[in-house]
Amino acid sequence: MIRLLQAEWKRLWKRKLLWAIVGVLPVAAFAAATYYEGANRGVSPAEPQYAVVGNFPVLAMAEMLLTLFNLIVIALVATLWTEEIRSGQLRMVLLRVQTFSRVWWAKVGVLLGTVALLMLLFFGFSYLAGYWILPHADAYPLFYRAEPVDLWEGFGYNLQYYGISFLTLVAFAGFLLLAGSMCRTVTGTLGVGMAFLLFSFFYPELAGYFRPLFSDEQFFQLYFSSLPMIQWEGIVNLLADQPRRAGWLTGVLAGYTCLFGIPAYLWFSRQDQWN
């Protein structure tokens, strides 16, 4: 299994795509930093939106999680699953004594490891970008928290934020795995992934128009049944002093992961990938 993981890992990192993504990360961090430097002029330093070195990794991630990281996950799934089946690379693996399910788990391990590594890189780059560009503050306020935090406590908060962000990406990957196993083409996988994101942005907006029809509880549940909305507003809510309905948010994440991930696994391991 270790060998299989190594093989998958090497095959993925051999691609130009991965190095292009790694090259984009610092650019994205610095672009976000310059953007927040401009946005700071309209915000008082007592607001949690005011970007300083300590909270910038979270603000940058909130910007990039919805766009860049979701796209990265789509690209990785399309590459690891669909592309390899299409181009016949998977056959080379299966010439050895390996089962589909072991290959699948190796791929999942490599996918999650890669996403985690890219997030860590971004974490580092955003601290660097913040250190160079943004103001330095010894203590700063956080969203939904009464007490301001210093740099060290803030570091712990940032790590938690990145951890939950990672879980949202895992949930999204679960959906993509099913799409990628069922769509036999790369463009199909990309399109389904994008369509899922756009649709998930769109229906909470739409529900906003029908607000009077729902109770607050129902509206909250509907709004946060959408993965991008959890990424957008749910994570800070989970990390608040008093998280509201944390059970629902974690339940939705787990639901996405299992409801789509398990059929994806069954599909991939039962289906004949040779044709």
Binding site: A78, E83, V186, T187, L190, G191, M194
Partner: protein, 255 residues
Amino acid sequence: MIRIIRSEWQRMWARKKTKVLLFGYLGLLLLMCRFLSAFKVSFYDPAHDVSLNSLNTAPFLFRELSFFLVFILVPLLAVDSFNGETRSGALRMVLIRPLARWRILAAKWALQAIVLAGLLAVTMWTGVLFGMWVMPDVATTSFYKTETFGFTGAMGYIIQYYSLGLLILMTVSGAAQLISLWMPNAVFSYAGVIAFLIGGIYVSPRMEFLLMGSDSIFKQLAPSPEADFIGLALGIVTISLAFSFLVWTRRDFKG
């Protein structure tokens, strides 16, 4: 030439994705009609709302659907037509025949243009007829900062609006074709198209017309235009066609 276009056409429909995309688009179109008829209100831009009537409804269908077109449908059609065919080997079968390379490329361009124009024509007429049937009847209407139009004037405005919409889609399509010729990997090219769409805003606010298509068209068609993207869009189209031509005629498709 007609035959080459027909062969492109057949190959396009042979892909199941094309059917899913185009029928999915028609489904969304009906959904949007349902949506607009429920509210009878739409927006020129985030600051100006407008109540819909029998003459001014058509542009707002494009407004609601432009995201799907620009982010999913147009890039996927272009990427499939170039990357997908190279990868699946379908392109070789075409290149085996003694045809000039540029003709095949011209056929691909023509087909993209025909499909997009067809889609927008369907959208426009759906909007016009739907407005007349469902929305409150009026004799005159006005659009964003324009004078009051009668029926013919409103139709003229709608046709201009949709022509500019077609220009925006062709810009996206041209860029997508060039990117997919450059990058043989479909994942790469699709990400490249999205980066072009979103990254453009960081380069210059004038590139907003790709994302905020409808808002830009309304501003462009106002009596004293507040936006001017026609020249820029034509420039991008021309540049991407010229470069695609250079890449296409020199490329070795045997690899």
